[in-house]
Symmetry: C2
Amino acid sequence: MKSLPQYPETCYKLLLEGFSGVFGHLIEPTVQKFTWNSHWAVDHGKRTVKLLGDSFEARKNGLEDTLEYEREHGTFNVLKRWTEERLPIYGPGRQFVADIERSAAGLFGIATYGVQLIAYVENEDGLRIWAARRAASQALYPSKLGVTVGGSLPTGETPLQCLIREAQEEASLSEDLVSKSAHAVGILSYVTTSDAKSARDSEAGLIRAEVQYIYDMKVGVDVKPTPFDNEASTISLYSLGEIKKALDDGEFTPANACLILDFFIRHGLVTYESEVNYVQIISRLRRSLGIHTA
Amino acid sequence: MKSLPQYPETCYKLLLEGFSGVFGHLIEPTVQKFTWNSHWAVDHGKRTVKLLGDSFEARKNGLEDTLEYEREHGTFNVLKRWTEERLPIYGPGRQFVADIERSAAGLFGIATYGVQLIAYVENEDGLRIWAARRAASQALYPSKLGVTVGGSLPTGETPLQCLIREAQEEASLSEDLVSKSAHAVGILSYVTTSDAKSARDSEAGLIRAEVQYIYDMKVGVDVKPTPFDNEASTISLYSLGEIKKALDDGEFTPANACLILDFFIRHGLVTYESEVNYVQIISRLRRSLGIHTA
């Protein structure tokens, strides 16, 4: 993750015809590479890119036509990772205004959403956290550590629905257990830029604005999260000392390190007295993204 | 509380000689009323007010000379509420760079700090919260509801030290109980402007940048917070339904309503599924203040 002194001032704003407010941010190289067809109005003076269309279908078609053209022409490396998964774009009052192919989200710098579950045991042995090690086969951050379950929110699911599905798929946790024991504790929201060297994509500097819906789940020692699909290789119970060492050693992915830090803050394990940047850390983990969010 | 579309762009920035960054925000009427003596360098072009002095003592003397002069001349109504209590001003890395008479904090828009304790019972009867009703004699928000304990952080105390003292003074809660059972869960940070009609002061539009250190304390039914000093008239156990009704009825002070809302979010009582402004509320309750904080 790089620092973002320029965001969002130097970016083009993504607008939608008929809506006020900003929906995303495009960096200048992206704006220059796109072939802007009749679905768009680009204003280089105001540094805005407006998607035209007065209905969900019109906007969806506009995005699809545009992205399929650029995919065929090989304009953007990110589109080589085409997924056929759809990500939602929300307007004021959580209005579902469009959706977009997942691999294109970074080109427009729209808000994307994820769910994160931290399952933990707290008993006479202290507090321990179930942390998942990513499979070595993962394109992004292979073999790195994360919280118990994490997933990206597709079109059509609420965070809780997504959490229940992902907890089953990634950690074999039952719907009954998650519905009963997991509880929402807030969000993290932050902005990163893509790194050309990362395995995720090959365009550098794309704006990634993320909202993570966070869930804590205190479990008994009888609950054992176990990998089900191929995302995690192992899920193990770590003592606080082991978690801190893994953080020090850079074992967690950057986003997951933030999730662990936030857990420590929420549980009084990192405090004003122990951390001189306490206030800064808390407010920066919940950055106002400056765009519409769900 | 008013909306703040202009903050901090239209304000003068408070600077300190020898330090980078911003320490507070002064509104233009305040800048015009002050008699800026030799302790200050004011730049109307850059809209900055810089406190001169290369030591804690020099800065403290500069502030004292200036404020005593304005107090004698009756320049500011807020200084009629002179308290002789000192509030800390922190620089980078929590360096203690100056302190200031409490009643003058709003003139400079420095960050001020408070501690807040929410004691609650969670058992077969559900979750209930100990809420304190302010004494009718309080100048600010008489007879309104607040969380269990709330206090302002003076020079020389850490949040936890302040919490332990205030919990004893306001609610008769022992140091032993609070040390053992209260745990830090994060902060709220927000900006308000003063209202000339409020009882707190008589200058309108002053910038109030506040950081609240939040503590949760789950207690058994044997713990009964009881007013000790004269700040609260009663402290009572409210069911969630009663808390929600009190919120609807405007019984809580604005800041305390935010604290309750944050408690509801942290405890999964307000979720994405129940509140369309979930993400906005969470990030706005932890606004980046744009100034140095502790």
